[in-house]
């Protein structure tokens, strides 16, 4: 079953689908979080938050590619960054030295534990990972740059047709 199928199932409330997605990707997400977080406990919290976010956002989540992994890694990165920020704010008098946004080389280094998994992805998915996890773009920005945005034009055309039809129908009533 494809990632898109499982996401759709999760959106209907299927924890079995969420479980399947966890089994499919939790190891890779954990390895990435391991490079981002300062402690094992933080890794666990980030990974859990990543999959709970997937659960909460499954209704309406549409992938531009076949794999959910880039999206999960971006969400994992965001949770890690927000967690680090929260920790830094809570301990403002003793900021650790590594609390700076990673540059490209550092960002690439943080992918060291998941490089094999990323290399196994399709070229589009690898490109998303590159843009998001190394260059710092958001998932949507990366999809836009790669020309993967879903066409809003089609939607508007369809709506216009629908409205014309409704106008005729209403007149008939």
């Amino acid at each position: 079953m494809s990632d898109a199928d499982l996401i759709k199932r999760a959106a209907t409330g299927s924890r079995q689908a969420l479980s399947a997605l966890f089994d499919r990707y939790a190891t890779t997400v954990t390895r990435y979080a391991w490079a981002l977080a300062p402690s094992r406990m933080d890794v666990e919290e980030i990974v859990q938050d990543t999959f709970v976010t997937l659960w909460k956002k499954s209704n309406g989540l549409t992938l531009p590619t076949d794999s959910l992994l880039p999206w999960l890694l971006v969400v994992c990165r965001n949770h890690a960054a927000n967690q680090r920020r929260k920790l830094a704010l809570a301990a403002a008098d003793a900021l650790p030295d590594d609390l700076v946004a990673p540059d490209g080389a550092e960002a690439r280094e943080m992918l060291r534990f998941v490089r094999e998994a990323i290399d196994a992805l399709s070229p589009d998915d690898r490109a998303i990972c590159e843009l998001c996890l190394i260059e710092g773009l958001s998932y949507r920005e990366a999809a836009d740059r790669l020309g993967m945005t879903v066409g809003a034009v089609t939607k508007r055309v369809s709506r216009t047709r629908s409205r014309l039809r409704k106008a005729v129908t209403h007149d008939e009533h």
């Binding site: 490079a35 659960w55 369809s158």
Partner: protein
């Protein structure tokens, strides 16, 4: 961390622990988060006159290796296909469609038949062993759901599942529309979509061995249907799906459509185009959140929906802006703001509020807030997953503002400010 990540048994133990936590949190959030649906036991068995043993299996009381998957035959049947309307069972007659619907009231779909009756009349248990309606009839969790209902769409989704497997059958039904021709053509494109010979026109497309989608035009109605299951289709699964669609087409064909729903005059203050370029703010998002990267224009938040009918019928605002900035310590902050507005959906807001405050979704996570220019506001923030929802009743319409990013005590007033800014600029 600078150490190597865990492997072997250590990793397995960690994954098991995290998975348990994730599934528990998912179960908890299912009950109370906006946008989620909840199952309703669906007592079809007695209605179609199955025996007690078959009924117990169908209701999921007796484990069945076939539970949750398309069935070659209904459990009480030997060889004959199920009769759409068993003579021994009184079936509810659809009420005569009213000539008009009350302005601004709870909208009724064009199809004058509820999901439970449709399932019964079309013998759904011939396809799903133990169907449960995924969402209470008429309850809406999102402004988009409300928009579809207002535009006359009847949406029914049934699930059937066991511990290991699941199957889902869903239909969206509305009046026929020129866009249905596009949907039919798309399914036939490249010879992938078979003509079903159902209704006035029909086509089926199966993308893989797990899911099929169908378009049926019958008697002035447009039906978009989908079926999927967790195991690859058996040889007769597609036949079962087609047979189910045929029964639904037969049930729907003679029904006289209801009149369209009309919104209250107050909701006309919202230009019901759903075009994000017309969604203005008095105060820019970048100012509200002190994040210049949020000043980019709105974009469509979600794709065209689950099928062409939904895409054609949804006309709500569904707009998102997102940005990335850094805090004083150089740490990245990711923020996303989404605004949905369904013009005229007071009924939907009130139904959702009742569900969230006093109904099955009630929790102490919801807080009533004051939003200038609005009649009511309901806030829910989940710090664990960094998501806040603000639902607002304004101009007899339902607005939802969704925030994703760092959640702290300062987010609530900022969400309120977003809503007030949109309201002031309308």
């Amino acid at each position: 961390m600078n150490t190597e990540p865990p492997t072997g048994d250590d990793l397995t133990r960690m994954l098991v622990s995290m998975k348990k936590d994730v599934l528990e949190r998912a179960a908890d959030t299912t009950r109370r988060r906006p946008g989620r649906r909840f199952g309703i036991a669906f007592g079809l068995v007695a209605l179609i006159g199955l025996g007690s043993a078959g009924g117990a299996v169908a209701m999921g009381f007796v484990p069945s290796p076939f539970e949750g998957l398309a069935q070659p035959e209904p459990s009480a049947s030997v060889s004959a296909p199920p009769a759409p309307t068993p003579t021994a069972t009184p079936t509810p007659e659809p009420s005569a469609p009213p000539s008009t619907q009350p302005v601004g009231g709870t909208p009724q779909p064009y199809l004058p038949m509820d999901c439970a009756t449709l399932a019964t009349e079309s013998s759904l248990t011939s396809l799903l062993r133990a169907p449960e309606l995924a969402q209470e009839e008429g309850l809406v969790f999102t402004p988009r759901d409300a928009s579809l209902r207002q535009n006359g769409v009847q949406t029914c989704q049934w699930t059937s599942s066991s511990e290991a497997d699941f199957a889902v059958f869903e239909v969206d039904i509305s009046l026929d529309d020129p866009a249905s021709a596009d949907a039919l053509a798309a399914k036939r494109e490249g010879g992938a979509g078979a003509d079903l010979g159902l209704g006035d026109d029909s086509a089926l497309a199966c993308g893989d061995a797990l899911r099929c989608a169908a378009t049926v035009v019958v008697g002035g109605y447009w039906i978009e249907a989908g079926y999927e299951q967790s195991q690859e289709f058996g040889g007769d699964t597609t036949d079962l799906v087609v047979a189910q669609l045929g029964r639904i087409a037969d049930v729907v064909r003679p029904l006289e459509a209801r009149a369209p729903w009309a919104a209250d005059a107050a909701s006309r203050r919202w230009v019901a185009t759903g075009d994000c370029s017309t969604l203005d703010l008095v105060t820019p998002l970048g100012t509200i959140f002190a994040d210049p990267s949020l000043d980019a224009s709105w974009s469509e938040a979600t794709s065209d929906g689950r099928n062409a009918l939904v895409a054609a019928a949804s006309d709500e605002y569904d707009c998102r802006s997102e940005g990335t900035t850094q805090d004083d310590d150089g740490l990245p902050i990711y923020t996303s703001i989404q605004v949905n507005v369904s013009a005229g959906a007071r009924w939907g807001y009130e139904r959702f509020r009742e569900y969230a405050v006093a109904g099955p979704g009630a929790s102490d996570g919801f807080t009533t807030v004051t939003v200038t220019g609005a009649e009511d506001g309901l806030l829910q923030c989940d710090g664990m997953s960094s998501i806040c929802y603000l639902d607002v009743l304004v101009d007899d319409s339902w607005m939802r503002v969704i925030y994703e990013g760092p959640v702290d005590a300062g987010q609530a007033p900022r969400l309120v400010q977003v809503a007030e800014s949109v309201i002031a600029a309308r």
